[in-house]
């Protein structure tokens, strides 16, 4: 087909009564074809499944981080409870002063301690 015939075919392909499947077949015969480069299939599969692997690894990392956080938090809470119990046993109460180790001190002695008078 020469270029004017191709032009006619292209324009007639948009006529309402034309057979679009026939036109596309004819154009393909004339060399109007498209394809992706070699290895396209493999590239797509690699992109999908390597991305899935990365996502899985990220999820696993977040899960381990959460687990580590809970372990650290529980250990901290346990340490605080042990501290409070030991303060209660030593001081007989859990007041703010006893928590700061000031339960035996009077205000005057603290002033004296700080000012030297």
């Amino acid at each position: 087909m020469n270029s004017s015939e191709i032009k006619k075919l292209i324009i007639s392909s948009l006529n309402e009564d034309s057979d679009p499947a026939e036109v596309s077949r004819k154009l393909e015969e004339e060399g109007v074809s498209y394809d992706f480069s070699k290895g396209f299939n493999e590239k797509v599969i690699d992109r999908i499944f390597s991305a899935r692997l990365t996502v899985t690894r990220e999820v696993e990392f977040v899960k381990s981080l959460n687990f580590a956080f809970y372990r650290i938090a529980l250990t901290g809470v346990a340490a605080i409870v042990v501290l409070l119990i030991s303060i209660f046993l030593m001081e007989g109460s859990i007041s703010f002063n006893s928590f700061l180790g000031l339960s035996d001190s009077y205000d005057e002695s603290i002033v004296c301690l700080l000012t030297g008078n």
């Binding site: 270029s3 499947a21 004339e30």
Partner: protein
């Protein structure tokens, strides 16, 4: 890479196996439809690395939305919808980019290559179609591509583009006028 058993497998069987994470089944889907996607993407965007990237994106999007495919329409229609949407988005993105950073005209946003092994006549036909398509307004280009290269009927085109049949028909006639004036200059 692709299991022999999938070569003759039905679409529904391939979809089910791909949803179960079977690489070979999805590979067979890519093999079956990559030419169709290439026709959409490369005729609309030109033959470039970017078109290859968009082609890959089409199948990646398909993979992640395969669970939403209910099998009411053909798988090819579903893939075509994804391809058209991603391609039109890419055209919009390029238009924004070129209007901001470049003085280049609409036609220079695209590039295309013709296969070296083709004869002069076949090269000429391919060049003519590509030049004409890339010079068209994208909203007409997509209609022409669907009809002329993919061989879709007006009804199928309307379904894929989510447009009323009347709109497709009026765009077809306006696209024909635009195409005539472009081809006169080529």
């Amino acid at each position: 890479m692709i299991k022999e058993s999938y070569k003759a497998a039905e679409e529904s069987q391939l979809v089910k196996a791909a949803l179960d994470g079977d690489k070979s089944a999805f590979g067979e889907i890519v093999t079956r439809y990559q030419k169709m996607v290439a026709r959409t993407v490369k005729s609309m965007l030109g033959d470039s690395v970017f078109a290859e990237d968009i082609g890959q994106e089409v199948f990646i999007k398909l993979y992640y939305s395969l669970s939403e495919f209910r099998g009411e329409a053909k798988l090819s229609t579903y893939i075509q919808k994804i391809a058209v949407n991603l391609t039109l988005n890419e055209i919009k993105r390029r238009k924004r980019f070129f209007s901001m950073f470049s003085q280049k005209g609409n036609n220079e946003m695209y590039e295309f290559e013709v296969a070296d092994h083709d004869t002069a006549e076949r090269k000429e036909a391919s060049e003519l179609v590509n030049k004409a398509l890339l010079a068209m307004d994208p909203k007409f280009r997509v209609i022409v591509m669907m009809r002329m290269l993919q061989g879709y009927s007006t009804k199928e085109t309307a379904e894929i583009l989510d447009l009323p049949v009347g709109t497709v028909l009026s765009r077809l006639s306006r696209a024909q006028e635009q195409l005539k004036s472009i081809l006169e200059k080529l």
